[in-house]
């Protein structure tokens, strides 16, 4: 168990380097010059050179990158070129929004998807067909479109939820929940379909196993066979899929946050991309990479807890 966690943590080092490296190199190739766009057209050449020095823009990319990594280790993610706000502050103020959205959608997708999957694996052909259609439609409709349609129906027409905006949990738990319902549902729909499909396939395979037959032959109740024994075995595939789904929700959150105008990381990263605000994009890329690492670590731990062979070794 401990070995698995150590291995995963060691693997995460190159991942962080790759993610920050790729974004750093790409961003340094951006045609616009941040110093020039910050100062405007009326700046003197002296001001320009001074700012470029201050931003380390004259040094080779690899040196800039090293400097950046050093700062990251000290907890300094730099400051936004445009707002002068420290990037760490941008990240910490917006992280709760994105995490609320992504974790909420993951929980919804996991619960609904598992129920649908088990149901369609254990009840006749019709419900199997229903899940097929659901998963096809859920996969097919683009997330932003579903989000807009939900917003048109439940926010604009029915007025049940706010169409845009976000209230933090500390301000009002009720308003927080209400502002998250539509974004979470919109984000979760695609994941529900995938999780239902994986659950069903895993359940159908598990139900063929010898020990399921033994248990049924010994008189164990069908409910226990399905929920206690078959689902337990399928949970290995399920946990992997839920982890992947959660990671894919990070990308989905970028779009959903823009549809519902939620002040999360996905929202600012699009703005920052358009403005060539390198430190902000960098900081968010790094944050996303860390979230991915944490999710993968949790999946590994869940794996160990679910599998007695791993746990005891």
């Amino acid at each position: 168990m401990l070995r698995i966690i150590t291995r995963r943590l060691l693997l995460s080092v190159p991942l962080v380097l790759v993610v920050s490296g790729i974004t750093f190199v790409l961003e340094s190739l951006v045609p616009g010059d941040p110093a020039r766009s910050l100062l405007g057209v009326n700046a003197t050449p002296q001001q320009y050179t001074a700012l470029r020095d201050a931003l380390h823009l004259n040094e080779p990319v690899i040196q800039q990158y090293w400097l950046y990594l050093e700062n990251v280790f000290r907890g300094n993610l730099g400051t936004s070129i445009f707002t002068d706000q420290p990037v760490s502050q941008v990240v910490t103020s917006r992280l709760p929004v994105t995490l609320s959205l992504v974790i909420g959608a993951t929980v919804v997708a996991a619960v609904v998807g598992t129920l649908l999957g088990v149901y369609s694996a254990t009840r006749g052909r019709l419900s199997r067909r229903v899940v097929d259609v659901l998963s096809l439609v859920g996969n097919a409709l683009p997330g932003f479109w579903v989000a807009l349609a939900l917003s048109a129906i439940f926010a604009v027409n029915l007025g049940w939820f706010p169409a845009t905006g976000y209230t933090s949990f500390t301000q009002s738990p009720q308003a927080w929940l209400s502002s998250l319902v539509l974004p979470v549902v919109a984000l979760a729909i695609g994941g529900v379909a995938l999780i239902a499909k994986v659950t069903r396939d895993a359940m159908l395979a598990t139900l063929q196993l010898d020990y399921i037959r033994t248990l049924r032959a010994s008189g164990v109740s069908p409910r226990s066979v399905i929920w206690r024994h078959a689902l337990r075995n399928s949970s290995l595939a399920l946990v992997t899929t839920i982890g992947l789904t959660m990671i894919s929700f990070l990308a989905g959150a970028v779009i959903i946050e823009n549809v519902f105008d939620l002040p999360g990381l996905g929202n600012i990263v699009v703005t920052a991309t358009n403005e060539h605000d390198i430190p902000v994009v960098q900081g968010i890329a790094l944050t996303f990479a860390v979230i991915v690492i944490v999710v993968n670590l949790l999946v590994d731990i869940a794996y160990g807890l679910l599998n007695p062979k791993v746990r005891s070794s």
């Binding site: 409709l141 683009p142 479109w145 807009l148 604009v156 008189g219 024994h229 990479a289």
Partner: protein
Amino acid sequence: MNPAVNAPAGSGKATRTSVIARLARRPLLLAALLVVIVITVAVYAAPLIAPQSPLQQDILHPFAGPSAAHPLGTDGLGRDILSRLLYGGQPSLTGVAIAVAVFAAVGMAGGILAGYLRGWADRIISPVLDIMLSVPGIIVILAVLAVFNQNIYAAMLVLGLFASANLARVIRSSCIAIREELFVDAARVSGLGPVRIMTRHVLPGLAGLLLVQMSLFAGIALGVQTGLGFLGLGTQPPQPSWGGMVADASQVIQQHPLFLLIPGGVIGVMTIAFGLIGDGLRDLEADRRRMPGSARPGGAAPRGEQPALALPGDPSALLTVRDYSVAFETADGPRTVVDSISFAVLPGEVFGIVGESGSGKTVTALSLLGLLPDSGAVTAGAAWLGGQRISQVPERELLKIRGHEIGLVSQEPMVALDPHYTVGSQLCEVVRRVSGAQGRAAVRARAVELLISVHLPRPDDVMRRYPHQLSGGMLQRAAIALALAGAPRLLIADEPTTALDVTVQSGILDLLRSLREERDMGIIMVTHDLGVVADICDRALVMRDGRIVEQGTVDELFYAPKDPYTRGLIASTPDIARSIGA
């Protein structure tokens, strides 16, 4: 080229013609292909068929409904929606094509190199794939858009590159499987180089898989492309794009919510079509793979006329089976695997069902518990336990029989128990369910008692163990304890000793014999081993191809076999043949 290598190429041609025939039987797949083709052609023929330029405004007629001039109406600037839709599809579909091409080329190359060459190639490629799969691709795509001046094609290329890690993984694992297949061995022995083996023999085997993955990914790529357009990235206004049109419509969602439906609908229809093509191709692949196996000849269809079933079960017998048939649903129609067999088991008797694999003996045993796979069913005749009918009865009746009246011990003890729970946890669950024991302590005591009754040493220790921590012989004893929990009148033992070492085998048989005496329990011993029959059975029947060849007492079978098949079986078991002096 030698003949061994030629063979698969020749058979490839035969399957190709039948692919077309099978395609015709899948209207959904055909319809989806048609949708993709029609929309694609229309999009690229936009300059020829669009009513007007996508940029031409008519400020006086914004949000006009459908008319002859504007079949789909106009948008907020009075621009023709159909024209914008047609032109706007170009960046979307070209972007998807680029992403899919990169996805296929890179994924295929990486997967085959890692999966076929293994060794150093695999050691380099696999970790790279792991890292690629963990990188949040959207961030890289956003960065690329910034660097390449909002060039959507560059972004889609990067999307294809990162997604290809998924494909490479899938290809890698099926490549490893194909590698082991015989025809590749033949090709290797005949002296072909690795490149040639890969292109001629490995690639064709992966083609179906690749097409499935490509069409599924096309749907994802379209979602990403239009999503970026929606965010205002990539194609810049006023140039039309599908995602951009959704964004435009979202601006007026309060006044004109229906405007969302047109671009959203086109995107949705295209994505569904890609998905359907993927699913359809996957089914075609599955059909193709299933073909050779299911083409097994023989096996009568279920018998038309049901034999008279007036006689109920003989109440003095423990189990009565009469004119009993079992059939499985296959792609070529029903296949009968047990064909009108009749026998009876007396209380306290050990009754053998002997036959080679495929003779229908295990199917017979499982059907008595209603545990056939979904595709199998009892098609004729009936079975009774005492006076109670147990075949063709509702599941809820069977629940009262399984574990309570009939217990099952199966062939492979190593996989007979749930690996995720301790032996004690499973045993207690069953005890709680089928025996009268109530309360934690009573249930546990009963479970320990059962483990003692199957002669397991240190039962408390065994209770705490997971199945993988016990030996085969111990597990089989635990499985027997499980089957005994409800004190059944009949125990069905399906090859209970086959998977065990010889020394352990006799211990299990001794246990079954003593249990029969202690509990006056009937046992059906399903086996291919005449030695087991001679050792433990009172009477037995011999099965072949789903029919009973002959049945009688063990003495009758061994000393006066009537059927040549039985004689052959005896002669092929030297120990038996010697001991009876045949």
